[in-house]
Symmetry: C2
Subunit: 215 residues, 2 copies
């Protein structure tokens, strides 16, 4: 299954600016991307990075500088829809965000399996985002604004696509805000967790829900 991984090269992870300097955010975002690409490949997916600008990678890259929704819909047009020149029903295509630092092959396997059963399978992120999906319905398109998980459920219903929700804490955790870094330190097994530890981050269990401190 082809797995598109959107990646913004322009000021990535701005909501981490209170805890990471600009060049640190670039390095951390890249570590998460590499973790995601490795997990996708280990799960048998064929990753393709959909980047806003050129990026130096040993993986296939498509550059598209449009906003996320337009770029992903462009990719879906080619693979599922109007521009699909193959015969028969479209092959399922996955879109997995580049900041899912807790992604593992096993969790991606669950997503891919759900996407073979349903026309559209979505992993909601915390706060109602759409962290990952698989679609094989020719008319399904995305709109990432706001609580996009609910919007995508409605879009699927509107085009008559069978919809499934994939229940995953790992894939549901997009790393956007300082509190999310705790999840990486607790569950992460790859470059992103190592990067954080080497940058001095540690868990802080001194009050309520566990957070992070930097030494």
């Amino acid at each position: 299954m082809e797995v598109i991984v959107p990646f913004s090269t322009d000021r990535p992870k701005s909501r981490l600016s209170s805890v990471l300097a600009p060049e640190e955010r670039v390095a951390f975002a890249r570590a998460m991307l590499d973790d995601v690409l490795d997990a996708v490949a280990a799960a048998g997916g064929e990753p393709r990075v959909l980047a806003t600008d050129a990026v130096d990678l040993d993986r296939p890259v498509t550059v598209d500088d449009r906003p996320l929704t337009d770029a992903v819909n462009g990719a879906l047009d080619t693979r599922l829809g109007a521009d699909d020149e193959s015969d028969g029903p479209p092959e399922p295509t996955a879109v997995v965000m580049a900041d899912l630092a807790l992604a593992t092959p096993a969790t991606l396997d669950r997503l891919f399996a759900a996407g073979r059963d349903a026309d559209v399978a979505v992993v909601p992120g915390r706060g109602g985002g759409t962290n990952a999906f698989v679609a094989s319905h020719p008319e399904f398109r995305v709109d990432y604004h706001g609580a996009s998980y609910l919007d995508h459920r409605e879009i699927a219903a509107a085009v008559g696509a069978a919809f499934e929700t994939v229940d995953s804490h790992r894939l549901g955790t997009d790393v956007d805000e300082p509190a999310d870094l705790a999840e990486v330190l607790i569950h992460g097994e790859g470059r992103a967790a190592t990067w954080l530890r080497e940058a001095g981050f540690a868990l802080d269990a001194s009050e309520g829900r566990v957070s992070v401190v930097r030494e």
Copy 2:
């Protein structure tokens, strides 16, 4: 499978005090408890509430006013350990927190299945807590302080218990803080979601991750 549901009758959900009055927190906590108990029963579990004080319920209730860790370990002593008077290996026992307002029979099924395969199966909560577990190892005991998921993994290793992590956003979402209410409005299908809507809460997608507003 017996499923113990710890429930505090004393000032529940204090971390929601910025958005809910004391009597509202009592009503909302009760709505979540009822949702959890219904989901457990629908998944084939036999729920038993482990309450800090008497509570009016049509389900079995054990009152134990000790702190959470001691009360749960007391229950495990009876079922798995020193006080277990049955022959053969202990039956798996589950402990599921009362504030998992997104629990569904399907997600609990996954937990119960994992708990039949492994000696200890844990669902980590956001921030490294232990939202639910199933244990059948006679020596496994809990310590809910801090990042208890990591501690429970270590405790299981120390007693030689096979450990499995269950990856679930629904069961990983314990409703403690105002931001968690958005998850209930997005995914909840039971009394807790209805209670919030009737209390005037709605999703607010005006900035970053979706949150809630009260009308």
